[in-house]
């Protein structure tokens, strides 16, 4: 059993992990967006607040600016000291000169021009004109510290931590979930493969057993048939001698009839032994190069006669490759298969004779043979639309003397003989069948390389 290492496997991201990661990313993005938005809102609010204070100062300090009253201006400006955000506040007169102001940790620009030039990082300057009847009489300048980076970060650090934790929890959970489900999938896959392999093994064992059985039966029956054949030949020879001895005396006497009957019985016995020998692959064969399509074509009429009018015959002869086999035996086999097909279709049906050129790397599924040789094969299939057979019968179909026909109708040697012949010729036999749908018997004969 080959177990692929888990680490070497391509990591497959389950939709759940992707979803969880996306959720975490969205959460983080939302957090960042929220923080940025809050930040901008805060800045805008700060600027707005400072501007409002500047506007209030500008409105109240008008008279003091107009009359250049430094003391009064200073009083107005000093009122803003309570705001710790304000780094500096100043009131400039119409000429841009400083009238009053205060500054914390920074130097107060002595003129408006200087103030404008001094804008920098870390603070914002808000300037609001002091106007009277639409005319500008001065300028109020407020300088506010923008919040330092560290404080801003500190403000968001809690939120960031929470978001990160949330995202982490989601990520970890989904990862572990994915790992679990991956392991479960792996397990069930391995389990399925185990079952598959067990089943395969069972099938192989069965095929092997079947093959051994056939081999044993073949050897046994072949041995018997061989000896039997010799015995028959002796009896037949002696019968011939007896007939010669009787001469004309035998012509019109009961003795002649007895000899005739015995001879006929011996012929039948010889025929039987021939078939057994065929199954046990011990029959003498005279292989010739033959094209199965041509062969089948030549048999069309004979088949038509054999199967009767109820069965419609279709020839699909697409095979071009030749094979080496005993032509007579092959004709027998084809006829046999056609008759089997006819018997499977007592109410009539369709018989298809098909030849094909096939190149096989592994045996067809239905074929139980462990020593298949990959290569080119000339295939001949006999297909019927008959009653078909269940799996357990299909598996025993080539067993010698196994038949489903009523006693006396079949010998149980037809398919056995076919099987023996095909195997003896270096080919394979495959039987597919479905109850109620029909049966397909396919012979795979090795391609004769010398031929076309």
């Amino acid at each position: 059993m080959n177990t692929a290492p888990l680490t070497g496997r391509k990591r497959n991201w389950s939709p759940m992990v992707i979803g969880a990661l996306a959720a975490a990313a969205v959460l983080l993005a939302a957090g960042v967006l929220m923080a940025v938005y809050q930040e901008q809102l805060y800045s805008a609010q700060q600027a707005k607040s400072i501007r409002e204070q500047a506007q209030i100062l500008a409105a109240s300090v008008t008279a003091a600016v107009v009359f250049n009253d430094q003391k009064a201006s200073q009083e107005y400006v000093d009122a803003l000291r309570v705001n710790p955000e304000l780094q500096a506040a100043a009131v400039y007169g119409g000429g841009g000169r400083l009238i009053a102001g205060f500054a914390r940790a920074t130097r107060l620009p002595s003129t408006m021009k200087e103030a404008r030039a001094a804008t920098g990082i870390g603070y914002i300057d808000i300037a609001v004109p002091v106007s009277q009847n639409g005319a500008q009489v001065g300028i109020v300048l407020l300088r506010a510290l923008t919040e330092p980076e560290e404080r801003r970060i500190a403000r968001y650090v809690g939120v960031i931590l929470l978001l990160t934790m949330g995202a982490l929890v989601i990520a970890v959970l989904s990862f572990s979930q994915a790992a679990l489900s991956r392991r479960a999938q792996e397990l069930s896959r391995l389990n399925a493969r185990l079952y598959e392999e067990m089943e395969e093994r069972r099938k192989t064992e069965e095929a092997l057993r079947q093959s051994h059985k056939m081999e044993a039966v073949g050897q046994l029956s072949g041995g018997i048939a061989h000896d039997f054949n010799n015995l028959i030949m002796i009896v037949k020879g002696n019968l011939r001698l007896l007939r010669r001895k009787l001469g004309t005396q035998a012509e019109n006497s009961p003795a002649g009839t007895y000899i005739e009957s015995a001879d006929e019985a011996l012929d039948r016995a010889a025929h039987l032994t021939q078939r057994i020998l065929a199954f046990s692959r011990r029959q003498p064969l005279t292989p010739q190069r033959v094209n199965l399509s041509t062969l089948a074509q030549g048999l069309t009429e004979l088949i038509r006669h054999s199967v009767g009018e109820k069965v419609e015959i279709t020839m699909r002869l697409n095979g071009t490759w030749s094979t080496l086999c005993d032509v007579n035996q092959m004709e027998n086999v084809i006829l046999n298969l056609a008759i089997n097909a006819r018997d499977a279709m007592p109410e009539g049906g369709r018989l298809v004779l098909e030849t094909r050129d096939v190149t096989l790397k592994q045996p067809p599924a239905e074929m139980e043979n462990e020593n298949f040789v990959p290569g080119d094969y000339a295939a001949l299939a006999v297909i019927d639309t008959g009653s078909g057979m269940p799996e357990e019968i299909r598996r025993r179909a080539v067993d010698p003397f196994f038949t489903t026909k009523p006693q006396g109708k079949g010998t149980g040697l037809g398919l056995s003989m076919t099987f023996g012949f095909v195997r003896q010729s270096g080919g394979y036999l495959a039987i597919e069948s479905k109850v109620g749908r029909g049966t397909t018997v396919t012979m795979l004969m090795p391609r004769d390389r010398e031929g076309p």
Binding site: S60, T62, A63, A64, V65, V66, F67, N68, D69, A72, G93, G94, G95, R97, Q132, N133, A135, Q136, V137, G138
Partner: protein
């Protein structure tokens, strides 16, 4: 107004606290102040002869400002009214004046008389520093700086409204009685 402010700022900025040494500077400041009072005071409509009538600043007696008042008020507007300066002799009528400056140095009795005559009229009386009688606004000198007191009660009597901004700048204020 802007030009006046500029002038004032320059004057005060360059020569701080030396009014005694140059009396002309004292009057220059006062000349700059007089038009500046206008935006902070609201006159009733009845104070003007008509919509197009000018806003008249009247200066009684000899011209103490040596032309600086005319300069400070030149081109100014008070709302819809163009601001103009009129120099009055003692005998001249104060009709058409919205703001009248009563300089020191004259007869105190006649000043008091004029002030009494102005009572109840929508005219802002501005009395010079050193006078014992006081109008709505009276200049005072404090620490060599020109400042002013405001008699808001008197202004109320005259139907005038003075902005709290101006009141806030005043050296002293006599509050009007609360309604």
């Amino acid at each position: 107004m802007t030009r006046g402010g500029l002038l004032l700022a320059v004057l005060l900025g360059l020569l701080p606290g030396s009014l005694n040494a140059a009396p002309s500077l004292e009057y220059a400041v006062k000349a700059a102040y007089l038009p500046k009072f206008i935006p902070f005071i609201t006159w009733p409509d009845a104070a003007f002869a008509g919509a197009g009538a000018p806003f008249t600043i009247c200066a009684l007696g000899e011209d103490r400002f040596a032309g600086k008042l005319d300069l400070a008020a030149a081109g100014l507007r008070a709302g819809d009214h163009a601001v103009e300066v009129r120099h009055l002799a003692a005998s001249d009528s104060s009709a058409g004046c919205q703001l009248i400056f009563l300089p020191a140095g004259g007869d105190p009795a006649s000043i008091r008389e004029i002030l009494d005559a102005m009572r109840g009229k929508p005219i802002v009386t501005v009395t010079d520093s050193g006078l014992s009688a006081h109008g709505v606004i009276s200049f005072v000198i404090e620490n060599n700086h020109v400042r002013f007191d405001i008699d808001d009660a008197l202004a109320a009597e005259d139907g005038l409204a003075i902005s709290s901004k101006l009141l806030g700048l005043a050296h002293a204020v006599r509050m009007r009685s609360q309604p």
